[in-house]
Structures are given as structure tokens and as C-alpha cells.
């Protein structure tokens, strides 16, 4: 059964079709939510909210874009809004402080991955989302642009700026990385 047919059956109120549509997409939705949230409980909440909204608004899906793109747009919107609310209540270090954490001496933090992950965490949301989608989850710039409602060029530019920022944060590891 192709996806258009499946969606038509969901619109007709078939519970089995709802489950089939969920099964077809839940892995990528959960992965994306988890990559953005870094927390299982939050990722579950965001995934659940994504599907609840998607089923409630399925009538507004016109089929211009792929269903997965439409669904991932809901996922990023739900996740980023949810994270904004959560972050306001967490004692977060400001970006400058995170930068300084990311550029402490090698002996203080020997793990490059940990340093890179901290540097990604410290990126502003819009840059972090593009890095996560492109470099971590393997979305194309076209998919990112459609999902986030931006131009392809903007997606490329944001990734480039984000990488420059990461490179700057990890400058003291240049030798290590080259070896």
C-alpha cells in the first residue's frame, strides 16, 4: 500500500492505518526529537505530541510536500518550543560560558567527542538544528529547507556558520584531529 492510500485510510478513520502510518515514521521522529532534546522523557513527550497533532491536523496535509517532511516540520516545531520552555527553567550557562567550557585546556577535557558535543549544545537553536539534521541525522539541505521553512541557501549558510563556530571552539584540538 502506498503512502497516499495509507493517509486516505487514516482520514477515513481506520485505526489499523493510523498504526501503520505511525510505525512507518516513528523511528525517525523519535530519533530527531531525541537528538534535539538529548533526554528520553522529553523525546517521548515531543514524539507523542507530534503524532497527536499530526493525526488531528491530517486534513490540512495537502500532499504538496512529502508526508515525512510535513511530520518532521511538526517534530522540530514541537521540540524546539518544548525545549525553550524547559531551558528557561534550567540553570543554563550562557553561550559565552559554554564557549569557555568548550575551549578549556586539553588536560581538563581529553575527550574530543565530549568537547564537540558540548560545543554543539552551546550553538543557538537554529544552527544546532541544522547541524543535527544535516551532520548527525543525514538530511539533505533540500529536506532541511522544506522542514524548517527556509531557503536551501540559508540552510547551507547556517551549517557553514555553525561549523565555523565549532571549529573555533575546538581550535586547541587542531593537532589532535589532524593526527
Amino acid at each position: 500500500m502506498d503512502e497516499h492510500e495509507l493517509i486516505a485510510r487514516v482520514r477515513a478513520g481506520e485505526p489499523a492505518a493510523e498504526r501503520a502510518l505511525y510505525d512507518a515514521h516513528v523511528d525517525r521522529v523519535y530519533r530527531l526529537a531525541y537528538r534535539l532534546a538529548g533526554d528520553d522523557e522529553l523525546a517521548r513527550d515531543f514524539t507523542q505530541e507530534t503524532f497527536i497533532r499530526a493525526f488531528a491536523r491530517l486534513d490540512t496535509f495537502r500532499g504538496d510536500a512529502r508526508f515525512s517532511t510535513w511530520l518532521h516540520a511538526i517534530t522540530t516545531s514541537v521540540s524546539l518550543n518544548g525545549l525553550r520552555k524547559t531551558k528557561r527553567f534550567r540553570s543554563q550557562a550562557p553561550l559565552e560560558a559554554a564557549d569557555s567550557v568548550a575551549s578549556t585546556t586539553r588536560s581538563a577535557e581529553p575527550d574530543l567527542k565530549v568537547r564537540l558535543h558540548a560545543a554543539i549544545d552551546a550553538l543557538p537553536d537554529r544552527y544546532r538544528t541544522v547541524v543535527v539534521m544535516h551532520d548527525v541525522e543525514g538530511y539533505t539541505h533540500e529536506e532541511i529547507a522544506e522542514t524548517l521553512g527556509m531557503e536551501v541557501g540559508t540552510s547551507k549558510a547556517q551549517l557553514s556558520r555553525a561549523r565555523a563556530k565549532l571549529r573555533e571552539s575546538l581550535a586547541d584540538f587542531a593537532g589532535e584531529w589532524a593526527s
Binding site: 505511525y22 537528538r35 534535539l36 517521548r44 503524532f51 493525526f55 564537540l116 558535543h117 587542531a174
Partner: protein, 209 residues
């Protein structure tokens, strides 16, 4: 190190960024079904005594805001415009003070309960109701007051978090997060400062906004 080399190593290391565990497919599907049923079901309210009090206060708030909006002058001029403005300010002030009093009562009770390791479901219900009032107040001129606005924004967040607490099992971490946030933002202190002194039965509006 070349740019290409750097980016290749970076992409390799980035793949482990927030590496997700296996998808909890069945658990999430159960929660989604429950969430959809909950949202689709018509909401039936049983008026408990405490709710009656709460609803009457909310009604006063709504009436206050409505009066305020109605009396708001479009082009203030002369003495009559000034009178309308005064009456409008008074209506907003009364509504705001009653709202602030209720919210302060709720948050004080919530924090005390949280410290004792329990949270009454009543607080969650009241938080939902007050959240609506908060948003309503943010839409009217009183909500644009530069002193009140940041407080309302913080209250909206706190009330939304309480309102979203699950009805049955409550995660201590969630409750702790809310109370920590309240303390960090000095929400209760700011709330109490915004409420004018005096007997609750005769709220004075001066200085509230």
C-alpha cells in the same frame, strides 16, 4: 589540518551526539492513543466547592477585562477621556489584583505541597484555569505594563508546567524543576510585591500595575 579533514572528523564525532536508544514504540503509541482520547472527549466539569470560588473569581476577572476593553478610549481628549481612562484603569486593576491574589495562593500551596513530597490534583486544575486568565490578561493593556509583563510571562510558564503535570503518577524531578524555576526567577517574591498591601476583601488597585 585541512577543512575537509576537519569536517570529516567532526561529522564522525557528531554521529554520537545525543545518540538515541531504541524507539519505545509501544509505550509511546499507548500514550498517543490516550492523549487523543483525552483531547477528543467532551470535558465534563464537576464543580467542587473550591472550584466554585475559583470560577467566580475568574468570572470577575473576565468581566473586569471586558469592562476595561470597552472603556478603553480610542482617542483620548479632554476631561471625559480622562474619566474613561480612570474607570478603565480601575477595571483592569481590580481584575489584575484578584488574579495575582489567586495565583499567589496557588503557588504558595503548590510549593508547600512540593516540599512535603506531594502535589494535590486540585492545584493542577486551578493552574489550568489560571493559565487561561494569565493569557487573557496578557492580551489586554494591563498585560503590557512594563513592570507586570515579565511577571506574567514567568507566571504563564510556571502555570503551564503545573498544568501539564500528569494526573496520576507525578515525577518528582518535574515538580522539583518547577519549584527550582520559581525560586530562581523569584516568582513568588515578585508576585507578592506586585500585590498591593491591605485586606484581601478590599483590594486596592493603586500600585498594582
Amino acid at each position: 589540518m585541512t577543512d575537509d579533514r576537519f569536517e570529516e572528523r567532526m561529522r564522525e564525532a557528531a554521529r554520537d551526539y545525543h545518540r538515541p536508544p531504541a524507539t519505545p514504540r509501544e509505550e509511546m503509541w499507548t500514550a498517543i492513543e490516550a492523549g487523543r482520547r483525552r483531547r477528543a472527549a467532551p470535558r465534563i466539569f464537576v464543580l467542587r466547592p473550591a472550584w466554585r470560588w475559583g470560577l467566580s473569581m475568574a468570572a470577575v476577572l473576565l468581566v473586569g477585562v471586558a469592562i476595561g476593553l470597552r472603556l478603553r478610549p480610542e482617542t483620548p481628549s479632554g476631561v471625559s477621556a480622562s474619566r474613561r481612562e480612570t474607570r478603565s484603569d480601575l477595571a483592569y486593576g481590580v481584575a489584575a489584583v484578584q488574579y495575582l491574589n489567586r495565583t499567589e495562593t496557588l503557588l504558595t500551596g503548590f510549593r508547600a505541597d512540593a516540599r512535603a513530597g506531594r502535589v494535590d490534583t486540585l492545584f493542577i486544575d486551578q493552574a489550568r484555569e489560571l493559565l487561561t486568565s494569565t493569557r487573557l490578561l496578557m492580551q489586554c493593556p494591563a498585560g503590557q505594563d512594563p513592570h507586570l509583563r515579565p511577571l506574567l510571562e514567568d507566571l504563564e510558564l510556571v502555570l503551564a508546567q503545573i498544568a501539564l503535570l500528569p494526573g496520576g503518577r507525578r515525577d518528582t524531578l518535574d515538580v522539583d524543576l518547577i519549584t527550582q524555576g520559581m525560586d530562581q526567577q523569584s516568582v513568588l517574591t515578585r508576585l507578592r510585591t506586585a500585590i498591593p498591601a491591605g485586606p484581601a476583601s478590599a483590594p486596592r488597585t493603586q500600585g498594582a500595575l
